[in-house]
């Protein structure tokens, strides 16, 4: 293996530090024995105990997870379909329709969705939030899937068709496995986008529907306690777990093409 220059190492180290030091601080302070995130006082598990007893925070986390799972599952299916359609049929209008929700400012989308739900007399609640999240996640999944399709060898599908596979079979057994890393990446992205969305969720959530970002944001006014660090730490662990699972399911997802 070629030796890499120390400069490259230093740059990489700085980049990683920039990415992970803030997260590490959040985790460390979740064990801090002080209400303030200001200085280290001593080790404690109090904030986790408080969190375990805080029904509101746990309900908010539960809502966020449920919405995230539903939104990522549904938008992955619809987004993959959209990605394939964009790749195969080269329609002019479709890409615009799919990318628009990504490009539209969140606040506009939030208000529009709220007005839309009110117009339909749709009761605001978890379902309306999930629907809104699906709406803005589809575009992201579609784009990731389409990028993956663009790098795929088209002749493989054609070969399958030549050998007598129906279009569905060719898709199911040839195309889908090949684009799986893109699909999984899209699903993960949708999940992350959904779980930390504030603006759209704020507008589409109904009375009594609280998600984690809404809960944390409303606490800012009275200063955030390390309980928020504790819940963030648990969420980070969960996200890490999801990435590990995704990597297990689709090993090529986290590796470069050449190594696989």
């Amino acid at each position: 293996m070629r030796r890499r220059s120390p400069l490259l190492w230093a740059a990489a180290l700085c980049a990683y530090a920039f990415l992970y030091v803030p997260l590490a601080i959040v985790v460390v302070y979740s064990f801090n024995d002080s209400r303030l995130n200001a200085e280290w006082v001593g080790f404690t598990l109090d904030w986790y105990r408080k969190l375990a007893a805080d029904d509101e925070m746990l309900a908010a986390a539960g809502n966020s997870l449920a919405i995230g799972l539903v939104a990522s599952l549904v938008s992955t299916v619809l987004g993959t379909m959209a990605g394939v359609a964009m790749h195969r049929y080269r329609l002019r209008l479709l890409p615009i329709l799919i990318v628009a929700p990504i490009a539209i400012p969140e606040i506009l989308m939030g208000v529009s969705l709220l007005i839309f739900f009110v117009l339909l007399n749709f009761t605001l609640g978890l379902v309306s939030v999930a629907l809104a999240h699906i709406a803005f996640c589809i575009g992201f999944v579609a784009i990731v899937v389409r990028a993956r399709l663009a790098g795929m060898d088209e002749t493989l599908t054609e070969a399958a068709r030549d050998c007598g596979a129906t279009p569905w079979k060719a898709f199911r057994h040839v195309t889908l496995p090949l684009i799986m890393p893109g699909v999984v990446a899209g699903a993960l992205m949708a999940f992350t986008l959904s779980i930390d969305d504030f603006v759209i969720t704020f507008f589409t959530a109904g009375a009594g529907t609280v998600t984690l970002p809404l809960q944390i944001y409303s606490m800012i006014k009275i200063s955030v306690t390390p309980e928020v660090n504790a819940v963030s730490t648990l969420l980070m662990l969960l996200t890490l777990l999801l990435i590990v699972i995704a990597a297990k399911l689709s090993p090529s997802l986290l590796r470069s093409e050449r190594e696989t």
């Binding site: 599952l73 009761t123 009375a207 009594g208 006014k221």
Partner: protein, 357 residues
Amino acid sequence: MPIRALAAVFAAALALAAPAQAKDELHLYNWNNYIAPETVKRFEEFCKCDVVQTYYSDNEELLAKLAAGAKGYDVLVPTSNAVQALIRGGQLKPLDKTALPNIRNVDPAYLNTPFDPGNQYSVPYAMSTTIIGYNDAKIKELGLPTDTWAVIFDPKYLEKVKGRVTVLDSANELFAAALKYLGYSANDVDPKHWDEAAAVIKKAKPYWAAFNASSYIKELTVGNIWLVHGYSNDIFQANQDAQAAGRKFHILQGVPKEGAVLAVDNMVIHKSAPRPDLALRFINFMLDGRNSAELTNLIGSGNPNKDAMSYIKPELTRLPAVFPPPALQAKLEQLKDLTVAQRRLRNKLWTEIKASK
């Protein structure tokens, strides 16, 4: 097939998250940490219902959401100027006063304001003032006054505490303080007076550490910042944190003799409230002195309820921000909404202030 499976997952996940609705529910749209947990519990026992709270962190958030047509909330707790906006937008249900006998507990000074003449739609809930907060050890050592806005705006004092002062990152609050310092009303809209206020702010700005609206509580507690223009509840919170952390100083409240901004939050009923009956019972319940006192004991909020006095911790009743004495009451002003043209001018001045060196 996969679609049906997905639909099942969808339904299951949402069913898990949404508890079955069997009991009576009161939907309260409130600021976070703005009602004591024991009060909620007592009301739930009293009305045999559940209180479901949703939170907002800004009046504008509440107004935007309701203006777009959101429904399902019974009681809201907006600040007076937002009450006025809600009334104008036809968003509120008039209060049936016969169901609110406890309204007699409210100090008349906070009733029948220009924001809602005759209290047709709103009753005061709790309040805060925008005053001076300071580190007692440091300010005593430096020999600075704490009863005048001069300490925030006059370079004569500021040079002793350079870099240890923060002011609120809010054009309306800071202009109000500067106008009061100059001897004008906080609601003064004369552009000439605004220019004077902007000049005062610009002259003081180099001495300030930051425009800060959220982390100054922490900075005060740690001892990095010694003097702030901030909300009375926050300053109270900072002192509680400082004592809990065993600091050698206190964070005290200084009420400027020139007067200050008062923000009163009010209970109102939304026009599409699913349970206006429960909403009225809740409002009357919260006007009871004991229930009202619990919030003040929790967060040090100002209390417009005379009956609450005897239930509030003695060290709190002494704070002028909790029960402003009549002489001070006369100098406190609630901020009125600006017209579009006025807001544009203020934004322009604010941008110039932010950009100035």
